[in-house]
Assembly symmetry: C2
Homo-oligomer: 589 residues x 2
């Protein structure tokens, strides 16, 4: 994580976490039993907001792009993670305090207390040296950590599948593996045509050493991932669709420059100037930016940052993060990587199945092929038990360098020794062969979104305070696209006549597809404040004028301005639905 | 499970599983690594159908009923399951084959090979005896199991949370605990007003000894649960809303009667006649039945069956299952139980929090309260170290039976001995006290749905075969409510003009909110068959008549009848949307 933007005057995170608990957005789970670090429950409002974010993502990244969505198990067997590399390398650096026993992330201890910015990429002995040199201490109790061993800790939650001779299983650390491992079947659904994309929205798990910052770093979270499989030789993204999208970029070159700054540009220009190296990654950044804007991320507090070489997975050709600014810090909300053929090649290597696509040529191709057919009655006596190795060596050589067979004799290497053979005994020949196509291992472009972090950012950027009638007010300026409720409906008082009208209003608005909260308890001011804190864009109050005046009207109050207007009940649903869809504005009513 | 209905002529399960794999409904996960029993992946069609079922459930059981939906973690800490009883008692009976080492469920071995119907409720020694007596064998290899110990096997998947001195955690065996454990906060969101309901749709996990029948008994599955909290003294369900719903019931009395049969009745009559004992359970059965019908469960193959006393949890007041018939067997799709105050009382007992609701009286009540204030200068010398026990005994007696203090002396029991005390030394008095309300432990009514089993049943009941133009055809007669795609759109041939119109049609239909599949590959007959097997209700073909004739028309084909009509492109979207909403019929066009 790089340095933060200008810090805002006041950190709102603490106030947000308090509001989230009070109003049912999210809270630490199992509080009755003291809670467990890194596990959060989304309350009624939070589950609704999160569901809306997921739906918006599905609409954009699955439906609109014509990709397939799947739903795979969260528990997967060990061989999958042997292949993916998670079993061997999905580790964090752990240091345990000799005094209090608290486990901390050694790289965080270093980063938080030295000028090192990317301690995760340092080798363990170096981290141990830095801890000793700087005399770093336990963040929990302050005891010195010098001399304590730094150990690797695998972040996967493990379990056992089945009874008796059970087999080890792991909770997936990313939804992606559930897609990669089923590639042989998924390509059939795509009728073996590249490019195609597969999405999944679901739980992922990382046994974090020190979970922190509420739902930003949890041990159980929700990912929305797209794995887009392309032919690296042929497929090009439809960049023209996103070339004019304006983006703020923070490339490696600027991060490494002391006077470096974020660059305001367009996707098209960034690709042309080589700022974004990978056109497919650029395409998905171009789709992602307006999506984040639509769900309510503040574009003044949003950027794409390129991974430094130390952050990037060794196989990733290019990688960018979508970041949002939270109380002066930038947090990662999504990663966009070209993972090349790494994942599919690994599964091809470790499993019994084929992770390639057969690419048929437009026309069958005629190719020359060099083969050998050695005279075994010569090789046998000459090489004895090594004769088969000689055959293998000759076959490899024919494929590699047919010019070696151009003279009368050919040289091969066998266990460090050079042997010379007459070419006529090798049965070397070059034949023509017609081939219809070839097996291609697709490259994978992966936009990987953290849903909880989008939820957190949207709430944080929506968090607002002002003063109304001399009283402080807190409200969430949520976009209607994601707000749990669009309209709150209140009968002014407990009164049969008012409640009857209110119920009719609720029915009308529901029929128009608007999400409604009905609230008849507490004084009207308190009900407004409750909906303000939940982030409900509009409230409708049914009062005595509604039932007494000739024309049936209600009071409609707008959340952000607190302006109120009297509107006729007859076209209320239509008017509010038009506002919801962006076709009308409350101010102009 | 009781005996099956008339078996259908031909079991379709195997054919369905094959179709599900071929067309992307579901398949065993990690097939490239040989698969793991009990884990299935929903492909593109299956994920869509499952999502539609979940949305339909949410609309009915959360939104329409005004209940709150939450989203809690799947990993929970050990104390939760100590309280819930799962740690101690969530077991199956395991028997291991001495020859091949295969683990089997001992109760299933007994049920499958003897006349015992409910072996799960037998004590372990009796199961061992039955196995020996009947000389039962290993289902895998046929070796004798007599003499093998039957052991209990806890069905929860376990893991460890955090590094170092990690704490044990478990994957939740039901989503319900994520609701119960947060009751102290959820009741605040409900403003301490009973009744209120909380729903959750999410993963649950059971480490089944022998998972079987594809997605019917898996180790990881999706539940949709509603926990409805009621005041057992006061709250009554709005039975009038469902009293006319017709249901087929199979109560305990009929199951225990050799000539017993299912009863066709209404919810109202069943409650009146005491067939359904619990009115709240009856209410939810009345909501569930039309819901199952709407998502496509065949009502001729659907019933509610009451739990036999051996099946019912000891705390459950009444329990019914929703069952569907699959190839002659009845399978459980949902359970409806009155769990009384069991869960909340347990958490109240095991945790530090309060799992009650304070019920304010309409008017404060004045109650008489009998208290004692014993003269310790008398009790001390008289009883020595036991004096405090005497005080406790007197306090209890005053509360229990104030008439005991009416004479001059009062008798108490202490460690089996009777003692007589002068009443004047007890400080007995009766005072008036004003109380505003009382703490009530709500009872919980739980409709618990297995989403995967609904998906399976809907597919199985939709599976159809017929003959079209002399060729056998397979199709899924899915309801538009849940079908992954409503319309398939095909340009007849690869032709720019046809494809342009087809793209316009796709845009129009999408705008009308219909889900679309575009398919331009293969001959038109094959494309129809593909959509038939996926269960797409309608296909629209753009052919040369479309672009050549004066009026722009397309061919619309209906899945079940395979009837085709030419319709104008202009009102195509409107017409199909009307059919989708049930306002028009294809036949009548």
């Amino acid at each position: 994580m790089s340095e933060a933007n200008d810090a805002t005057d006041q950190p709102t995170s603490e106030k947000l976490v308090e509001l989230a608990k009070r109003r049912g957005y999210f809270f630490q789970s199992s509080g009755a039993y003291g809670g467990v670090g890194g596990f959060y429950t989304f309350g009624p409002q939070g589950a609704s907001l999160k569901g809306n974010v997921e739906d918006a993502w599905r609409d954009r990244f699955a439906v609109a792009e014509g990709n397939m969505e799947i739903d795979a198990p969260t528990i997967m067997p060990e061989p999958v993670f042997e292949a993916s590399g998670h079993l061997e390398g999905f580790d964090d650096m752990l240091i345990e305090c000799p005094e209090c026993g608290e486990s901390s992330r050694a790289d965080h201890v270093v980063e938080d207390n030295t000028e090192y910015e990317d301690a995760e990429s340092l080798p363990i002995p170096e981290v141990e040296e830095v801890i000793a040199e700087y005399e770093l201490v336990c963040p929990a109790c302050g005891a010195g950590l010098a001399g304590q061993a730094v150990e690797t800790f695998n972040l996967m939650f493990d379990t056992n599948i089945g009874p008796g001779d059970s087999q080890p299983g792991y909770l997936r650390p990313e939804t992606a593996q559930g897609i990669f491992v089923e590639f042989p079947r998924l390509k059939e659904y795509a009728r073996n045509q590249l490019p195609f994309g597969v999405t999944q929205i679901g739980r992922a798990y990382r046994n974090e050493i020190s979970p922190r910052r509420s739902i930003i770093r949890t041990r159980e979270f929700t990912q929305a991932e797209l794995e887009y499989f392309v032919d690296p030789e042929e497929d090009e993204p439809p960049l023209e669709r996103v070339e004019d999208v304006e983006v703020r970029l923070y490339p490696v070159s600027e991060q490494n420059d002391e006077d470096g700054a974020e660059i305001e540009t367009t996707i098209g220009a960034a690709v042309e100037e080589g700022i974004i190296g990978d056109a497919w990654v650029a395409y998905f950044l171009g789709i992602a930016k307006p999506w984040y804007e639509a769900v309510g991320v503040d574009m003044d507090r949003f950027r794409f940052r390129q991974h430094l070489s130390g952050e990037r997975a060794h196989y990733a050709a290019d990688c960018w993060d979508a970041e949002s600014e939270i109380d002066g810090n930038w947090i990662e909300m999504a990663g966009f990587a070209n993972r090349t053929d790494y994942d599919l090649s690994k599964h091809e290597e470790y499993s019994e199945d084929r992770f390639t696509v057969f690419k048929q040529y437009d026309e069958p191709k005629t190719v020359e092929r060099a083969t050998v057919d050695p005279d075994m009655s010569f090789l046998g006596p000459e090489f004895g038990g090594a004769a088969q190795d000689v055959v293998a060596e000759l076959e490899a050589l024919a494929e590699r360098d047919r010019s070696a067979f151009e003279g009368d004799s050919v040289e091969i290497e066998l266990e460090g020794e050079t042997h010379e053979l007459p070419v006529e005994k090798t049965g070397f020949s070059v034949d023509e062969e017609t081939i219809a196509g070839e097996h291609v291992t697709p490259h994978v472009i992966e936009p990987s979104f953290g849903v909880d972090r989008v939820v957190y950012t949207v709430l944080h950027h929506a968090y607002s305070e002002d003063e109304v009638d001399g009283e402080e007010r807190t409200y969430l300026e949520l976009d209607p696209e994601v707000a749990p409720t669009f309209v709150g409906v209140f009968p002014l008082q407990s009164d049969d006549e008012l409640e009857a009208v209110a119920n009719d209003v609720v029915d009308d608005l529901r029929e128009a597809g608007l999400s409604i909260t009905y609230d008849d308890s507490g004084n009207i001011g308190r009900r407004y404040r409750r909906q303000d804190e939940v982030g409900t864009p509009f409230c409708v109050t049914i009062d005595y004028e509604t039932v007494e005046a000739e024309e049936t009207t209600v009071t409609v109050r707008e959340r952000d301005s607190t302006d109120q207007k009297r509107l006729s009940v007859d076209d209320l649903a239509e008017t509010l639905a038009a506002i919801r869809n962006g076709d009308r504005e409350f101010e102009a009513l």
